[in-house]
């Protein structure tokens, strides 16, 4: 670097314009200068053998892996600036239907950071992990209370993993009865993971249409049922935000032909403490802890998708599972009392691992997303049974308030009381003004809100799926409603559509060219032209 053309030497330009969202942040690779470092490692005193004394030539890397080379200062600047180009729940309302973007209490971050939880190796001996085992067992108990099921596995890392696990449990169950069934029923409003999981579970999907109420068409269901049906996957309330009122009849019909009922728990938030999947007749339930129990989504994950099952499926659960051991540590009577005294000296393992008798086997490298479980337990304990019920009430109240308030402005394809989310539609607006659901979404970004889920569920034209969650205040709902009303009103004005098409103009970048991304695929910095 010289004064005149100091750029000639390699090395990135760390300049960027924070607080001015519309300035692009260079990649870390562009900030890199050869030989620059941030890392610092502890002094070990281990002899400093060279690589060729340690690795046979044929296995040795010749050139180091080329990563970015930046100072700690530039590392911090880069990722802090990137964080300023990212919307999040902590910045504003995130009414993304089906995703339950509620506020995530900070106490859960503290819990997940406790060294006694975060610092535990997953293969440590049982005597050194009693706290973790107790934690998982406690969570299992409360989730069984919430769902009305008998036991749960915590290995699945997300909802979809739970689905596949549940399908394999269904398969194991049918296998154990010498039955081989080939089909799984899924409503047409179902989330994409359901059919995808069915395929991976080795089943074929039979789609059941929704009726005009937005619920499972009972006639179609009955028509599809026979002994080739392994079961049905449902979420209730369904993805239209509506409670499947015929659930008892559905359960009876499916059980009648020997099928099982799978509950996709992504929408459990709506019915916490009101009604339990087990009482509705479900046999297998997965929970999205990252939705219902407020694990932050982390920009796409991690979550946790535990699967709870009814008594008859317990023996098939993945293993090993944490379990409270028979109370050999609580001896009774005078003779035993002596033993107790000596036992008191040596630590007693009250919890251990068990493998269910006919386990389908392992579905995770270790025990699932454990730190997510700790977060969920903290969340649940703060709320308690009474608080979880309140969560459902307020979530449903918020969604219905929006539904009624906005029903004059947007279509409400299924205009009856909804549960925790409401599916609106821009179909009339589109017809009248040309404004599409996507435009509404992009305009809403300008107003400081995240957009609702758009074009899902697939069965609704120009769908706008709004899930306010219970942690948004009435005032925030009002602001959201007003913004949505303003957007609709603008569209009718002259130039209104042009304004909408230009949106969003105040975000870090404007409308992004998705087609180009797919066409001139640039999946890494190295594939840039």
């Amino acid at each position: 670097m010289s004064g005149a053309s100091p750029d000639s030497a390699a090395g990135g330009r760390a300049r960027s314009a924070p607080l001015m969202g519309r300035d692009t942040e260079p990649t870390l690779f562009e900030l890199s200068a050869p030989g620059r470092t941030s890392w610092q490692l502890r002094t070990t005193g281990v002899p400093e053998w060279a690589a060729d004394e340690l690795v046979p030539a044929g296995h040795r890397r010749q050139e180091p892996v080329a990563l970015a080379e930046v100072s700690e200062r530039d590392l911090v600047g880069h990722f802090t600036r990137l964080s300023h180009r990212q919307f999040s729940v902590d910045l504003g309302a995130y009414p993304l239907g089906s995703c339950t973007m509620k506020y995530n209490p900070k106490v859960c971050d503290t819990v997940a950071g406790l060294p006694g939880l975060a610092g535990v190796h997953p293969a440590a001996p049982v005597s050194t992990i009693q706290g973790w085992l107790a934690l998982v067992v406690e969570l299992e108990e409360v989730l069984c209370a919430v769902t009305g099921m008998a036991a749960a596995t915590f290995q699945p890392a997300a909802g979809a993993a739970g689905e596949l696990t549940g399908l394999l449990l269904m398969r194991a169950y049918h296998d154990s009865r010498g039955e081989s069934r080939r089909r799984v029923l899924i409503p047409d409003s179902a989330h994409g993971t359901n059919p995808a999981s069915v395929t991976l579970g080795g089943y074929e999907v039979t789609t059941i249409p929704s009726d005009e109420r937005g619920c499972v068409d009972m006639e179609a269901l009955r028509g599809a049922l026979d002994t080739d049906v392994a079961g049905i996957m449902l979420t209730n309330p369904n993805t239209l935000g509506l409670f499947e009122e015929d659930i008892e009849a559905i359960a009876d019909a499916v059980h009648q032909v020997g099928g099982l009922l799978y509950y996709d728990g992504a929408n459990l938030n709506a019915i916490l403490g009101v009604v339990r999947p087990g009482d509705m007749g479900f046999d297998v339930v997965h929970l999205n802890l990252h939705k219902t129990f407020a694990t932050p989504h982390g920009g796409g994950g991690p979550g946790a998708g535990p699967v709870a099952v009814s008594e008859r499926l317990v023996e098939f659960l993945p293993g090993p599972r944490p379990a409270r051991l028979a109370s050999r540590h609580e001896p009774e009577g005078p003779a035993a009392a002596e033993g107790a005294a000596s036992e008191a000296a040596a630590p007693v393992d009250r919890y251990g691992w068990v493998v269910p008798a006919r386990s389908i086997g392992r579905v995770h490298s270790w025990h699932g997303n454990a730190l997510v479980l700790a977060r969920a337990l903290a969340y649940i304990r703060v709320h308690g049974g009474d608080g979880l019920r309140r969560v459902a009430e307020r979530a449903v109240l918020n969604a219905n308030w929006l539904r009624v308030r906005l029903s004059g402005t947007y279509d409400v394809p299924f205009d009856r009381p909804c549960m925790h989310e409401v599916v609106l539609a821009a179909s009339s607006l589109k017809r009248q003004t040309g404004l599409r659901a996507l435009d509404v979404a992009k305009r809403l970004l300008e107003e400081g809100f995240h957009a609702p889920t758009v074009y899902f569920p697939l069965v609704v034209d120009e769908a706008l799926m709004v899930e306010p969650t219970e942690t948004e205040s009435p005032q925030t709902l009002l602001a959201l409603a007003e913004a949505l009303e303003r957007i609709a009103a603008e569209a009718a004005e002259e130039d209104g559509l042009a304004v909408a098409h230009a949106a969003p103009r105040t975000t870090p970048v404007g409308r992004v060219d998705e087609a180009r991304a797919a066409r001139t695929l640039v999946p890494t910095f190295d594939s840039r032209k």
């Binding site: 870390l28 690779f29 470092t37 890392w39 490692l41 070990t44 340690l54 690795v55 990563l67 970015a68 930046v70 700690e72 990137l82 964080s83 990212q86 999040s88 729940v89 902590d90 106490v107 503290t110 535990v120 293969a123 992990i129 209370a145 919430v146 997300a158 979809a160 398969r171 994409g192 993971t193 999981s197 080795g202 999907v205 009122e245 009604v275 989504h297 982390g298 920009g299 796409g300 994950g301 995770h364 490298s365 270790w366 025990h367 997303n369 454990a370 730190l371 304990r381 703060v382 308690g384 049974g385 109240l397 308030w401 942690t471 975000t507 970048v509 409308r511 060219d513 910095f525 190295d526």
Partner: protein, 461 residues
């Protein structure tokens, strides 16, 4: 009443009134009365945050593993995670965002993932990486799904040097996919691939061949042989690589791998009792359209400014539904962001240095423990770089318990991974007596010496 709900009682009343309702119960009119929970949930009522924190703190204190000097590995390692990485990766914009469905307000996560993809692709020596999968095991399962689909064949040859848990997951998911998983045994720590390319005990030709590098016993496998085997069968070559050891070992992509998978936990993620971790997945351009899960690509916005977006979405479950390449939706993005930060912190020289220091520590410890009477290498003279399998005179579980009392997490008993019967990687005898020991860059010479002394005592007493 302690919770996070904003509504005051007044507001609830007013809102209910607006809906023409008198009580919250009426909100649930659609739920058949017979199904409704009568007495509320059978669980405790809410407790204030500080009480809950105290309870969780007690559970945490009931663990001891984190206080032991860690020599356990087997895919989960005690690497240095500096405060700067924790601080950046825990910024709430990254933590409390959702999947970047609206790219205009998600450039932060998208760019970080793009950088993650670039770094892991370079690490693997392949041109494409996805945005994360759940963990190493799920990445392997997806690789096998990809390989069998690409080759149009259901058989998979899997080296028994693949982590036993991962192989167990493969077996579980094969119940659904119908894959025929053939585990190829080890010999002195490396895979005994069939001599001729169509081994007698394997009926069908494999669609995918899977090998570890290093394998789970720390041993270096012959990648060229696997490539030749894959070519002979027209199979997809899948390498399960340790991403830290990759800093000192030849590039799996360079050695011909079509798919490289791995466990990304070593890049900034806490041990955390096994999760959340990070499934790494890289592949060739040829396999791009079969890539499972999310992929971020570079593009531009309306004004031509550089921007990022998730792309090739048509592969994914929300669009392709039952024909999707995978069912993954929620993944481990935050861990991918964390890995990008950690790899940014390490940089070119840091990753190489960590890998080198692991290898040095492993060698130092190997020499020290092999001097102990009765302690032998389980894999003979096969070179190891990051992990070390020992045969101890006592059952390894006993050794581990004894060493825990001395302050060491001595390693992982092989039978805890394989079961008491062993598997294709070790005999029953070796499974019970096998101790897998990992040495990271964090272990000091004093700790290594202390370990050897404690092991000496443990096996003698």
């Amino acid at each position: 009443m302690a919770d996070y709900l904003p509504h005051t009682e007044d507001e609830v009343r007013t809102m209910l009134g607006f809906l023409g309702l008198e009580s919250a119960e009426e909100l649930f009119a659609a739920v058949p009365v017979a199904l409704r929970l009568a007495g509320g949930l059978a669980m405790a009522t809410g407790e204030p945050e500080p009480d809950v924190l105290a309870h969780l703190g007690e559970l945490a204190d009931a663990n001891r593993a984190h206080q032991l000097v860690c020599f356990a590995g087997a895919g989960a390692y005690d690497h240095e995670v500096p405060p700067v990485v924790r601080a950046l990766a825990s910024r709430s914009e990254f933590v409390t965002a959702y999947t970047p469905y609206q790219p205009e307000v998600a450039q932060g996560v998208l760019q970080a993932v793009f950088e993650f993809q670039t770094m892991t692709a370079r690490l693997a020596g392949l041109p494409v990486a996805n945005a994360s999968l759940y963990d190493g095991a799920s990445a392997l399962v997806e690789a096998v799904n990809l390989g069998t689909a690409a080759a149009g064949r259901q058989t998979v040859w899997v080296s028994s040097g693949i982590h036993p848990h991962w192989r167990q997951c493969l077996a579980t998911f094969a119940r659904g996919s119908g894959h025929r998983v053939v585990e190829v045994p080890l010999d002195n720590g490396t895979t005994r691939w069939p001599k001729d390319t169509a081994p007698g005990d394997v009926a069908a030709s494999p669609g995918a061949i899977v090998v570890g590098y290093p394998n789970y016993l720390g041993c270096l496998e012959d990648l060229d042989a696997v490539r030749r085997l894959a070519d002979a069968h027209g199979a997809v070559m899948v390498v399960a690589a340790d991403p830290v050891a990759a800093g000192i070992l030849r590039s799996p992509g360079g050695a011909g791998a079509d798919v490289v998978v791995g466990e990304g936990q070593p890049f900034g993620t806490a041990l955390g009792f096994g999760g959340p971790y990070l499934g790494l997945f890289c592949c060739t351009m040829a396999q791009l359209r079969r890539l499972p899960g999310r992929l971020v690509g570079e593009t531009v916005d309306v004004e031509g400014r550089r921007a990022y977006v998730t792309t090739l979405r048509a592969r994914e479950q929300d669009i392709r539904r039952e024909r999707a390449t995978s069912n993954v939706c929620t993944n481990q993005t935050l861990m991918a962001v964390t890995a990008a930060v950690q790899l940014g912190w390490l940089g070119t020289s840091g990753l190489a240095e960590v890998a080198l220091r692991c290898a040095r520590g492993t060698r130092y410890l190997r020499e020290a423990v092999l001097a102990i009477d009765g302690v032998e290498p389980l894999t003979g003279d096969t070179p190891v770089v990051r992990e070390l399998a020992l045969r101890t005179p006592l059952p390894a579980a006993t050794v581990i318990d004894r060493m825990a009392a001395e302050g060491y997490l001595a390693g992982v008993a092989l039978d805890a991974l394989t079961g008491p019967a062993g598997d294709g990687s070790v005999s029953a005898e070796d499974a019970v007596h096998g101790l897998l020991v990992a040495v990271t860059e964090r272990r000091t010479r004093a700790e290594l010496d202390g370990y050897a002394a404690a092991l000496d005592k443990a096996v003698r007493s």
